[in-house]
Subunit: 237 residues, 2 copies
C-alpha cells in the first residue's frame, strides 16, 4: 500500500550508532523478553533505533523504546556497548527496509556496521501495555528459553543483558516492583529462581536475603491454619 | 614549529563517537589516574580518541590507549557511555587543536557533542612505562584526591569509573596482579582501604575476604619472631 511508505531522514542521526533495548518481563514463574517482529519477515529484533545528533542518549533510549513498543517511563539502564566490526550486516537491513517500503540510497551509512548501546529493564509484564511500532507487525513477549529467529547479534545482546540482570539482581530488587506490597519468602525465592534459572536451597536462600537487610518481617499470612502460615515480608524503604 | 603540524583525516572515523580510558594505578597506599596533558594548555584530559568506521571498539580502545599513553595489552573494560547533549563543547576542542597546530574545518563534526564510551583498567603503576602521545606534552599519574584542571566532563567520567572499580573490586581482584605472589592479610586490607578510600575493621575485613573463597593460606611469614609472624596468603587459581 502506498500509504505504508515510510521516509527516514537519515541525516538527523549520528551515523553508525544505535541503541537496543532488552526489556525483560517477570510474572508468576516466567521470565520473558519483549520483541517486535519485522513486517513481512520471519524475523524478530530488539526494539532499537538511532540517536539524534543533539539528543541525550538517555532520552534517545526512552524515545526509541516508546516508538517500538509503546512502553513509557521505564527505568532503563545501560549494560554494554556492542561494537564488533562484523556485528551487523547491511543484507539483513536491506530486507527489513524493503519489507517496510523504506527507501534509502544503497551507499547510505545505515548499511555499515553499527555500534549499539545496550539498555535493559525488568518489568512486570502483566502490568504494562505494549503497542506495535510503525516498522513492525507485532510486539510480543517471548519466553527466554524459546527465542524466535533474531536479527544481527541480538541473541548475544539478550544473553549479555541476562547475565547483567542476574549479577545485579540483589542490588536492583527493591526498586523493581515485581512483587505485591507484602509477600512470602517463597514468593521471593520463586522470583530469584525464575530469573537465575536454577533451584535454590530454601535455608541458604532465606539466610542470604535476610542478611541483605532489605526485608522487614510483618505478621503471619492468614490461611486459617495458623501454625503452618508463612510470614509476610515487605521491602524496607 | 612547522614539523609539529598534525593532519587528521576526520573522514576515517565514526562521527560524534569517542572512547575515553580511565587507567587507575595502585601501588603502596596510593591510587592514581593516568592523564595526558594537552600541549601548551593548563589542561589535562583522559586518554581518548575516535573509532575507525570498520574497527572493533575493543581494538579501538587498545589503539587509543597506546597512542596516548604508550601502554599496551592492558585489560580494559567498558563501564559506561557518556552521552548528555551538552557534555562536550567545541570551544575547548578548538583550543586544543590550535595548541597542536591541527587544522580542521570550522563546520567539522569534531566540534559537535561526542558520545563517549568509557573504558577502565587498574594496574600497578610501578610496573608500567608510559610514553607521551603526539597531541600531548606530558602523560602523568595523578593522585585521585588531587586532580588537575580537566577537559569536558572528564572529572565526572573518572568519578563514575571509580564507583565501578569499587563496586567490582571483589570480582576483579584475583586477576589484577596488584600484590606480590604471596601477601599478608594486612597488605590485602591496605589495597582495599586505598581503593575504597576508607578504613575497614580488621576482623570484619578478614571474615569477609575469607568467605569469598579466593584465598589460600600458606606458611607464616618469617620475621624472626615466630609467635607474632603474620600468615601469608595467595590467590586460589
Amino acid at each position: 500500500m502506498e500509504s505504508d511508505k515510510i521516509v527516514i531522514d537519515e541525516s538527523k542521526y549520528i551515523q553508525q550508532l544505535s541503541i537496543d533495548c532488552v526489556i525483560f518481563g517477570f510474572h508468576g514463574e516466567q521470565l520473558k523478553v519483549l520483541l517486535p517482529k519485522v513486517k513481512q519477515l520471519e524475523l524478530w529484533s530488539l526494539p532499537g533505533g538511532y540517536v539524534l545528533k543533539k539528543e541525550d542518549i538517555e532520552a534517545a533510549a526512552q524515545r526509541i523504546l516508546e516508538e517500538r513498543t509503546g512502553l513509557r517511563d521505564i527505568y532503563l539502564e545501560q549494560f554494554y556497548v556492542f561494537g564488533r566490526a562484523n556485528r551487523s550486516t547491511g543484507e539483513t537491513l536491506k530486507k527489513v527496509l524493503l519489507a517496510n517500503s523504506i527507501q534509502i540510497p544503497e551507499d547510505s551509512w545505515v548499511f555499515e556496521r553499527f555500534i549499539s548501546i545496550g539498555y535493559y529493564a525488568l518489568v512486570d509484564f502483566s502490568k504494562v501495555n505494549t503497542k506495535i511500532g510503525i516498522y513492525d507487525e507485532a510486539c510480543e513477549w517471548h519466553d527466554i528459553h524459546q527465542l524466535p529467529n533474531l536479527a544481527f547479534d541480538h541473541a548475544e545482546i539478550i544473553q549479555k543483558a541476562l547475565e547483567t540482570l542476574r549479577f545485579m539482581l540483589d542490588d536492583k530488587l527493591v526498586g523493581l516492583n515485581l512483587l505485591p506490597e507484602t509477600f512470602t519468602m517463597k514468593e521471593l525465592q520463586i522470583l530469584y529462581e525464575t530469573i537465575l534459572d536454577k533451584p535454590l536451597r530454601r535455608d541458604n536462600f532465606q539466610r542470604k536475603v535476610l542478611t541483605m537487610g532489605i526485608l522487614e518481617r510483618i505478621e503471619k499470612k492468614f490461611t486459617g491454619a495458623a501454625h503452618k502460615a508463612p510470614y509476610l515480608y515487605k521491602f524496607v524503604k
